[in-house]
C-alpha cells in the first residue's frame, strides 16, 4: 500500500514538472521567457504552500500545538471534497457549482475535524507540547488509514470550473494555465484575509493577546478555550482548502500527507513560527527553490530546500521573521 502510494506520489510530482520540461525542451527557448516561466511556476507552487502552511502556522502561533496531522487534514479535505464533487458534477442544475461546493465541503470537513481534535484530545493537555504532537501523530496515522479504507487508493483530480480552466495569454511567458494564476490570487486573498482578521477584528485581538499571555487573557474574562477551538477550526479549514486547490492543480494520491506536512514544517521553520508574513516569505523561498532546483540540478533539488532550512536555523533559529522565543 505504502509503496503504491509513493509511486503515485512520484508520478504526480513528475506530472507537475511538465510545464518546466516543456519550457526546457521547447523550440522557442527564450531565456527571459524561460526565466519568467520557472519563477512563475515557483510562485504558484508557493501560493499553494502558503495556503496550507498558514493554517499550520496559525495553530502553532496561538496554541504552541504542532499539528502533525496537518498533512492528514490536507488529504481529508481533498478526499471529502472529491466525494461531494463526484456527487454534484453529473447533475444538470448543480454541475457548474460542483467545484465550489467541493471547496466548501473540504473546508467544512477539516474544520469539523479540527474542532473535534481540539475539544476531545488537545484542549485539556494545553502546555504539554510534546504530548500534543504525539497525539496528533497518532491521529494522523488513523485518519490516513481510514481515508484509504473508505476512499481507496486511486489517484483523482478535480476539474476546475470552465472559468478557471485552460491556458491564458501572459505577457512575456505566453500561454500559462489560468488556474495557477488563480492559485496566487487565492493565496494573496487568504493572506490579506488573515492579516485583516488578526489585526482588525475582535477575534484577532484576542488571538494576538493569547499568543503573548494566555493566562492574562483568560483573567480578562475571555473564553480562551473557545478562541482556541475557533483558531484550530480556521487553521484546519485552511488545510482543507489547500487540499481541494492542490488536487485541482495536480492529481491527488495517497502519500501527499507526508509531503504537505513536510512542506508546512519547512515553510514555518524557515519563515518563523506564527507569523503570517514569515509564512508567506518561507513559502515563496521554498516554492522558488523547489522549481529552480529542479531546473538547475534535477536529482539534488530536494537538498536545496534543506540547505535553506539548515542555513536559516544556523543564522536565525527562530526563523526569518519569527520573534525570539522568550
Amino acid at each position: 500500500m505504502l509503496a503504491l502510494s509513493r509511486q503515485q506520489d512520484s508520478q504526480s510530482r513528475r506530472s507537475r514538472e511538465d510545464p518546466e520540461a516543456a519550457a526546457m525542451h521547447g523550440e522557442e527557448r527564450l531565456s527571459l521567457q524561460f526565466f519568467l516561466t520557472v519563477t512563475l511556476n515557483g510562485l504558484t507552487l508557493a501560493a499553494l504552500y502558503f495556503i496550507v502552511a498558514s493554517g499550520f502556522s496559525l495553530i502553532f502561533g496561538l496554541m504552541r500545538t504542532v499539528n502533525m496531522a496537518h498533512g492528514a487534514l490536507y488529504m481529508l479535505g481533498a478526499y471529502v471534497g472529491f466525494a461531494v464533487f463526484d456527487l454534484f458534477y453529473g447533475s444538470n442544475t448543480w454541475g457548474d457549482y460542483a467545484w465550489l461546493i467541493a471547496i466548501a465541503a473540504g473546508i467544512a470537513a477539516t474544520a469539523l475535524a479540527g474542532v473535534i481534535m481540539q475539544v476531545v484530545f488537545l484542549g485539556w493537555m494545553q502546555g504539554q507540547e510534546l504530548r500534543q504532537a504525539l497525539v496528533t501523530i497518532g491521529l494522523s496515522i488513523i485518519i490516513a488509514d481510514q481515508l484509504l479504507a473508505n476512499f481507496g487508493g486511486n489517484p483523482f483530480q478535480f476539474f476546475a470550473p470552465d472559468m478557471l480552466f485552460g491556458p491564458v495569454q501572459a505577457p512575456f511567458i505566453g500561454r500559462y494555465p489560468i488556474f495557477r494564476l488563480f492559485q496566487v490570487g487565492l493565496a494573496v486573498s487568504v493572506g490579506v484575509g488573515l492579516w485583516l482578521l488578526l489585526n482588525k477584528t475582535r477575534l484577532g485581538i484576542m488571538v494576538r493577546a493569547g499568543v503573548d499571555d494566555r493566562q492574562m487573557l483568560a483573567a480578562c474574562g475571555i473564553n480562551v478555550p473557545l478562541v482556541a477551538v475557533t483558531v484550530f477550526a480556521l487553521g484546519a479549514g485552511l488545510a482543507g482548502l489547500g487540499g481541494v486547490i492542490g488536487a485541482t492543480a495536480q492529481p491527488m494520491a495517497l502519500g501527499v500527507d507526508a509531503r504537505f506536512l513536510l512542506i508546512s514544517l519547512v515553510v514555518v521553520i524557515v519563515g518563523g513560527m506564527g507569523s503570517i508574513g514569515g509564512t508567506a516569505l518561507g513559502a515563496i523561498l521554498i516554492g522558488l527553490a523547489e522549481q529552480w532546483g529542479q531546473v538547475l540540478f534535477p536529482t539534488y533539488s530536494v537538498i536545496l530546500t534543506f540547505v535553506i532550512m539548515a542555513a536559516v536555523l544556523a543564522v536565525r533559529p527562530q526563523g526569518l521573521m519569527g520573534r525570539k522565543p522568550v
Binding site: 504552541r64 510534546l130 501523530i137 497518532g138 491521529l139 506536512l261 534543506f306
Partner: protein, 333 residues
C-alpha cells in the same frame, strides 16, 4: 561502570540467559521474524530513547540515521544488486556504514543544536522525510525508487547471515551490548553532564560545560546506535528502499519507543516487541489492511493514558504493589 543494584544485575543476567535459550524453545519464525526483528528495530528505538531520556531530545531523525547506515552498507556491499562502484568486503563495509551514521548523527546534532523540544521534533522530522525524498529522487547513488537489493550480509562462522539462528544471535548480541553501552554512558562524566544540560542548559553552561558539544556528541552516539540497527535492518530486509525510511517508518520508531516507554532503555525493546507481535498477528484479528488504524489507536491510547508507556505503567504498578506490601507490613506491627 554500570550502576545497577544486585537485583537488577540478576534480572538482566536471567533475561539474557532466557533469550540465549530461546532457540531451544521457539520455532525459527518467532526467532527471526518476531524476536530478531524486535531487537533490530528496538536498537533504532533505543537510540531515540537514549536521546529522549538522557538528553531531552525527542528526535525523529533516528530512522534516517539508520537509513544512512543501511544505504552506506548497501552501496559498499559485495553482493549488492546493482553492484556499486565502492564494493568491498563486509568486514570493511559494516564499520564504515556505522561510521557514516555516526557522522550523520553529529551533523543532525549540529543542525539542531540550538533548538529544543517541539522545534527539534519538527526539524528532525523535516530532515528525515527530506532524506527519504532525496534517496527516492537520486538514481546515481541511491538507485531511486527501486533502492538497492540483495544485501544478504556476511557469513558468520561459515553460515549465511540470514539463517534464522545466526541472525537471532547476532541481533541479540548487538542489542544487548548497545543496551549495556547506554547504561554505561549515562553514568560517565559525559552522560552526567548531558543529563545536567537536559535539566538546565544555562546552569550547566555556567559551570563551564560546552552545551553545544555535548549535544552534538549525544547525537553522534545516537547515530552510532541507530547505525548498528540500520545495518542489521538492511540485512533483515535483504536490501533498502526509500520507502523503508520514509515518514511511516520514521513514525514507527517513535511509536515503538513511546509505547514501550521513553523512561528506560529497556522500553525501546518492549515497544518494538509489542509492535512486531501486533504487526504479525493483527492480520488474523482485524485484517492486515487496517493495521495502521489499530497501531494508531494503541499509540493514541498510550499517549493519552500513560505517556511514559508500558515501562512507566509497570513502574507504577510495581510501586503500588510494593507500597501495599510495606503498608500491610507496617499495619501488622
Amino acid at each position: 561502570m554500570i550502576m545497577m543494584s544486585n537485583r537488577q544485575w540478576l534480572a538482566t543476567g536471567a533475561g539474557l540467559i532466557l533469550l540465549l535459550l530461546m532457540p531451544l524453545i521457539l520455532p525459527n519464525f518467532w526467532l527471526a521474524n518476531i524476536l530478531g526483528r524486535a531487537m533490530v528495530y528496538g536498537i533504532v528505538a533505543l537510540s531515540l530513547t537514549f536521546l529522549a531520556q538522557y538528553g531531552g531530545f525527542v528526535s525523529l531523525a533516528q530512522t534516517m540515521l539508520a537509513g544512512v547506515a543501511g544505504y552506506a552498507v548497501a552501496m559498499m556491499a559485495p553482493t549488492a544488486i546493482p553492484l556499486g562502484p565502492l564494493a568491498m568486503p563486509y568486514a570493511f563495509a559494516i564499520p564504515l556504514a556505522v561510521l557514516a551514521a555516526t557522522l550523520a548523527g553529529a551533523l543532525v546534532g549540529l543542525i539542531a543544536v540550538n533548538t529544543r523540544e517541539i522545534y527539534l521534533l519538527m526539524i528532525t522530522l523535516a530532515l528525515a522525510v527530506g532524506f527519504s525524498l532525496f534517496a527516492q529522487s537520486n538514481i546515481q547513488w541511491f538507485r531511486g525508487y527501486e533502492g538497492i537489493r540483495n544485501i544478504v550480509g556476511p557469513e558468520v562462522f561459515g553460515r549465511p547471515f540470514r539463517t534464522q539462528i545466526v541472525f537471532y544471535y547476532v541481533a541479540l548480541t548487538t542489542a544487548f551490548l548497545l543496551y549495556l553501552l547506554v547504561l554505561y554512558v549515562v553514568r560517565t562524566p559525559f552522560g552526567l553532564a548531558l543529563q545536567a544540560i537536559r535539566d538546565s542548559a544555562r546552569r550547566t553552561a555556567a559551570i563551564g560545560f560546552s552545551v553545544a558539544l555535548h549535544r552534538i556528541a549525544a547525537f553522534a552516539l545516537a547515530g552510532f546506535i541507530a547505525g548498528c540497527g540500520g545495518v542489521l535492518i538492511t540485512f533483515y530486509n535483504i536490501g533498502i528502499t526509500p520507502s523503508s525510511i520514509g515518514l511511516w517508518p520514521t513514525v514507527t520508531v517513535l511509536v515503538m519507543a513511546v509505547i514501550g516507554g521513553l523512561g528506560h532503555p529497556l522500553g525501546a525493546f518492549i515497544g518494538a516487541l509489542i509492535f512486531a507481535v501486533m504487526d504479525t498477528f493483527a492480520s488474523s484479528i482485524i485484517g492486515h489492511d487496517r493495521f495502521n488504524t489499530l497501531i494508531g489507536l494503541v499509540f493514541l491510547a498510550i499517549v493519552l493514558l500513560s505517556p511514559d508507556g508500558i515501562w512507566g505503567m509497570g513502574q507504577r504498578v510495581s510501586k503500588l504493589l510494593r507500597g501495599k506490601r510495606t503498608g500491610t507490613a507496617a499495619g501488622g506491627h
